[in-house]
Every structure is written in C-alpha cells, then in structure tokens.
C-alpha cells in the first residue's frame, strides 16, 4: 500500500543521531565507537559539561524511571 505519510521534511539531525549513534546492530567490528564516544557527541551538541542534572537526564526515561522535576 502507499505510504500514508512521507517522512517529515522537518526531520532534524537529532532524529538521525538518536538512531545511528545509539542504535543499530552492533558486532565486534575492528572499530566501533563506544558509548562514551556517543555521550561525547551529545555533549558537543551544546550540553553544558558542568551540568550533572543534564547528564542524568541524558540517561533518564519517563516511563520506567523516576520522573524529572520540571525545570
């Protein structure tokens, strides 16, 4: 059947990064970037290094973890 909706043209870099850095099949290739490298990239996306709260939020999840305080 035809696609009811085509991918939004507004898809951001965020959407792609959220998938290709953190997800996708992982095998023991000769070189595979690590979780620490991924976090480094997110840090490069304007996350303030000094913000412990931000780092914790990076690892939070709304359904399974404790809720975050609204900022």
């Amino acid at each position: 059947m035809d696609n009811v909706i085509t991918k939004s043209k507004d898809v951001t870099l965020l959407e792609v990064l959220d998938r290709v850095l953190d997800k996708g099949a992982v095998v023991s290739g000769d070189i595979v970037i690590s979780v620490a490298d991924v976090d480094l990239i997110y840090l490069g996306l304007k996350v303030l290094v000094s913000s412990v709260e931000t780092m914790e939020r990076l690892r939070g999840a709304p359904i399974e973890g404790p809720m975050q305080e609204p900022t």
């Binding site: 009811v4 959220d18 290709v20």
Partner: protein, 266 residues
Amino acid sequence: MEVTIKDLIYLYCVTNSLPHHLHTKDFGIGVYFIYHKGLYAVVSKVTESEFNEENLKNNLTNLEWIKTKVGIHERIIEEVMRDICVVPFKFATLFNNEDNLKAMFEEHAEELKTKLKHLEGKEEWGVKIYCDIEKLKENLIQEDEALLKISKEISASSPGKAFFSKKKKEELLNIAVNKKINEYGQYSFDRLREQSLKTRINKLLPKEVTERENDMILNSAFLVYKDKISDFISVVDILKAQYKGRGLFFDCTGPWPPYNFVTTGD
C-alpha cells in the same frame, strides 16, 4: 578483491538479497556489496585518515564532520531500504579487511537472517512527545481540586499567611505536573503500543540537544506492520488533538530503518 592497507571497510547494513534500486555512483563514495553465507553486506571503503581508531576519536569532536558522515550513513541505508529489508548497523562499524567482515558473518549470519525474517513487512516509526510545562500548569491551576482550594485560601489570606500558602501551592503544582506528565505519556504510549508489534522507550534528551523550547517527556520507537501504518498515524493524530490544549506536542517520524529493533535480544 584486495583492499589496500590504507582503506577500511565501513559497514552500513546487511540484506539477504541484492538491492536493485541502489545506484552506487549516486553517493559518490563507491558503495558495493560483499556476499557471504547468504547475506550481502552494503559497504564502502573509507580512509584510515578519517576512520582509524585514533582519528575517529578526534573527528567525533567535530560536529560538522559528524553531521556529514551520519547523513551519508542514513541516506545509504534508506536507499537500500526502499525495496528490501535491511538490518542497519550502528554508525562507524568498521573492518580492516574483507576477511574480517566475512569472519563476522561466520559468527552472526544465522542471527542476522533471523532478524531479517522478523523485520520483513514492518517499519520503524518514532514518536517523541514534548510538553509546554507552563501551559500544563495553567490547565492544572484551573481544574485540580487541591490547587483550586489553596488558590482560594491565598485570596482570602493575610499577606503573611499567603506567603506560606503560595509555597505550598508551588509544591502541589509540581507534584500535579509530574503526575500528569506520567499519566499522559503512559496513556499515549499504551495507545500506540496497541498499534505496534514491538516498542522501545529510549532515553530522554535535554533541551540543549533537542533545541526545543519544550521538555521532552517521551522518546519512543514502534515497529509497525507496513499495511497498518495508516492506523498507527491515525492514533497519533487523535492523541495530538486530544492533548494539544494541555501543552503536549507529538513528533511522529518515519519510516526509519529499524535501528531500535536489531539489538541483541530483539
């Protein structure tokens, strides 16, 4: 085909049939296929100067480099995905040579074939929900019984007493906001889960990453039958309409290569 020592092999995705649609020249980077044990690896050569272990780490701190390379990774996989099922690989999965890639197939071929079989006829869709906290607060102040009561108390109080009541109101408001965010997020997720075969909840991303004014409250992915996509989208639209007045915003994106549904155990 011999690979020179200065090149590495970059793996984009794996398929169990040869892509018809892909025009390797379109990307200008020489995408080609390595066949082994009934599977095709979609690969290209990349230079050690960009992707060896030391240089890769340096380049990962260069946002423009990341944008370019991540974009290429995604476009190639999406192109292959147009007419066949794929197992997409994580960004920067690299092998020193073809023999090493084939050794990976020796180890993982059956697992990859199983994943491809399970993914046939299905698509990944993403739903992120954002919340305008201030708008939600406005709603709650108008309708939450405890908040209405304390608002009346504040109006009728002396300035000294009102100070403490306002503090109490702020606490109650924060509790109510968190409760509603949980409730709305869970309800929305459950409605969408009913339309899907598999789901995955991912970590929330802060505003600094999303560059949105509003807070992300749900980051989820759904594996949906291709012929049921219209039902899935309809439910998203219903939820959008239902929660718009409450300050919730839904970003529905797709179809994506099934990144969220190819990890071990899926």
